[in-house]
Amino acid sequence: MHGIGKSFPGVRALWDVSLSLYPGEVLALVGENGAGKSTLMKILAGALRADSGTISIDGTDVSIASPRDAESRGIGMIYQEFNLVPQLTALQNIVLGNEPVRGAFLDERGARERARAVLEELGIQLPLDRTAAHLSVAQQQLIEIVKALSKHARIIVMDEPTAALTEREIDALFALIAQLKAGGAGIIYISHRMEELPRVADRITVLRDGAVVETRPAAQFPPGDVIRAMVGRPLDAHFPALDPVAADTSVVLDVRDLVRAPAVNGVSFAVRAGEIVGLAGLIGAGRTEIVRAIAGADVPESGVIAIDGTQIRIHAPHDGIAAGIAFITEDRKRQGLVLGMTVRENMTLAHLAQFVNRDHLISRRREEESARRMIDELRVRTPSPEQLVRNLSGGTQQKVVLAKWLLGKARVFLFDEPTRGIDIGAKAEIYGLMKTLLEGGAAIVMVSSELPEVLGMSHRILVIRGGRIVAEFSREAVTPDAVIAAAAGAAA
């Protein structure tokens, strides 16, 4: 790709960007949200057209006007949000849009053979006849990869492929990438996780504000340098220092024998004021289900939940909110935001009662005041409170979700993957915000699949497996190995 430029109304997204990819290498593409990574990759995939610049493959200039063009040139995209049809089987998804036919009919056997060939080549297993909705996130990811490879993709773009994967699944993915490299494919790998880069990348290209800042071989590009190049300034501390919690501090959230079969099977723990308890574990261990049951997103079958010593009954999310629980969900787009509504409307949604006048009408003026205050306090990058949330970047959207809960007077904050898919700058701000909440006496439960985050941002770590707490570590005593072993059941 040479001299690629792209403008959207009001924004220059890319300035004269050039990058090259060699067969058999992994090029990591990093940068903060809004740096232009997605736009660049969408141009490569034919989803967007560049205003200027050329793309050449094997030395020949090519024109990529549509996703179909990109496909026929051997470019395969694996998007962060999977493009699977949940009701179709794994096999049907793999051949979707490219079904082998015999005459007018679908060639079921041909499809199966094609998928099997790719699976065999990769040495992986996949239940081809199960519907996509019933597969794990890691398996869904595999479907996307097999789909790309079955179309003979030689240039494979992976956008945050590990965002939803656990450590063990990531290892498997990296082994797969190594095989793809050995087969001569070139891979563009987009990630926000610095610690992965030395493991997977051959070269690293850093984008900032729509331009290439630097490209270096990965071996000569330590994470500290990468981060500096990304943000344009050194970020010395990822995680803010957490104040210790005294043993006599009062308990805010007390959970006893929480059950919601099959995912939650008797969980008891307490969180004190000013404390963060991290829930670690593999995907499917029941971590999300635990916080969902506390928040009332799913109704628990049995168990006792108390806040500040008062037992509460939770039948629906509004009961949890009334009791002082804020639940920041893992999936912003599906659970956290109404994308077609404005920043203001999203921010006030959970606490609209605050903004209703005596005449039962919503006070637009007070809504706007609060929205503007939150935009300032959280440094939400939006042109105005009236911007549709759909048009904001991932990190900015997450801040809107946080603002929604900060407008209430919650005592307990349940964070489920609070920094998934957002850039380092926004991450640091969210960690800072969590610390501010602690200083105000809040209790925090944080579910995270990013081990450094769990270790760096928790006073205590509870490891969940099979819907139970299988190990507990203090901040001082914890090691990554011990957590992984407990999560996988190896230490038992």
Partner: protein
């Protein structure tokens, strides 16, 4: 409130302009018969029924639902009100109030039943309201014995054919319903929740919105709007007929909603849009009648105009999104 109104007007600006231009052209074609006070009032009266049905439907459609039962609800509530009017021992205003309340209760009950399986079992509203369409159509024949039920008391016909300052009473009904519904949708928590549910029901639920209650209320409102229309017809014709409301009313109400810029996917829409949608359709019929367009051809034109209006609205939205 000012900003809200401004927003609503902006959203409907395109429709208003189209309507205005069309009216000017048409008045010429119709030799000046079009822009007369009498004709305008006639059009407004004619659209009032479908506009009120459309207003109720707007709430439902913004939640990404649909209410197919409204036509039958007009019939059954009309028949019930005619029977009530003939059989209760009230007179004068008391009789009118009791009759109207009976009709509203029928509409509200039907709406509540419509919502029950939608809320509790997550069944598609297309199915539950379609079932309600059939059930209430049958009931309206049973309650009436298959014949229009004549209303004996003349007070209804006085109300139903009356006018205030020359304005037909139906138009007053429409203005009141549109005004109340507009404030309800644009100004209250309930209205905000209607949009939130249509935009992302799970996010709304997790934000503490009592989604079941809001959705139930939306179908109740739609049922009550149908009952109001049932009352208007009953009063106008001094009879409750099982045939009233069961022809083109459902589709034309939905057309008014859609032409008015409300998205069938939910999360977007406005009451004033529905009013203008109904107005556009009403004007179109009126114009074609004045210019003696063949009645079969009228249907073709209507279909094309509906499609055009929606396409134009979509293009306008895309244009706005880009700027």
């Amino acid at each position: 409130m000012n900003a809200v109104l401004k927003n609503v007007w902006l959203r409907n600006a395109v429709l208003v302009v189209i309507v205005a231009i069309a009216m000017a052209i048409v008045n010429g074609l119709a030799h000046g018969e079009f822009l007369t006070r009498q004709n305008i009032f006639t059009v407004l009266e004619q659209i009032s029924y479908n506009c009120i049905l459309g207003v109720g439907q707007t709430f439902v459609i913004i939640t990404a639902g649909i209410d197919l039962s409204i036509g039958s609800l007009v019939a059954v509530s009309g028949v019930v009100m005619a029977q009530v009017a003939n059989h209760v021992g009230f007179t004068g205003v008391g009789l009118v109030v009791v009759t109207l309340l009976a009709g509203l209760a029928v509409g509200a009950l039907a709406g509540w039943v419509n919502a029950l399986p939608v809320v509790k079992l997550n069944l598609p509203p297309f199915i539950t309201t379609f079932a309600m369409l059939e059930v209430t159509l049958g009931l309206s024949y049973i309650f009436s014995g298959g014949q229009p039920v004549a209303v004996n008391n003349a007070i209804f016909s006085n109300i139903g054919t009356g006018a205030v300052f020359g304005l037909p009473v139906q138009v007053i009904w429409m203005v009141v319903v549109v005004a109340i519904a507009s404030v309800l949708l644009m100004g209250t928590r309930f209205g905000r929740y209607v949009f939130a549910i249509g935009g992302n029901e799970e996010a709304a639920r997790l934000a503490g919105v009592a989604t079941g209650r809001v959705k139930t209320l939306v179908y109740v409102i739609s049922g009550m709007c149908a009952a109001i229309v049932g009352f208007m017809y009953m009063a106008r014709f001094s009879s409750g007929s099982p045939d009233t409301g069961t022809h083109d009313e459902l589709l034309e109400a939905i057309a008014a909603v859609v032409v008015g810029g409300t998205s069938l996917m939910g999360g977007q829409g406005s009451i004033l849009g529905t009013f203008f949608g109904a107005l556009l359709i009403g004007l179109l019929y009126n114009v074609m009648n004045l210019t003696h367009v063949d009645s079969y051809l009228q249907k073709v034109v209507l279909g094309v105009v509906i499609l055009l209006a929606v396409v134009l609205d979509e293009l306008r939205k895309r244009y706005l999104a880009r700027n």
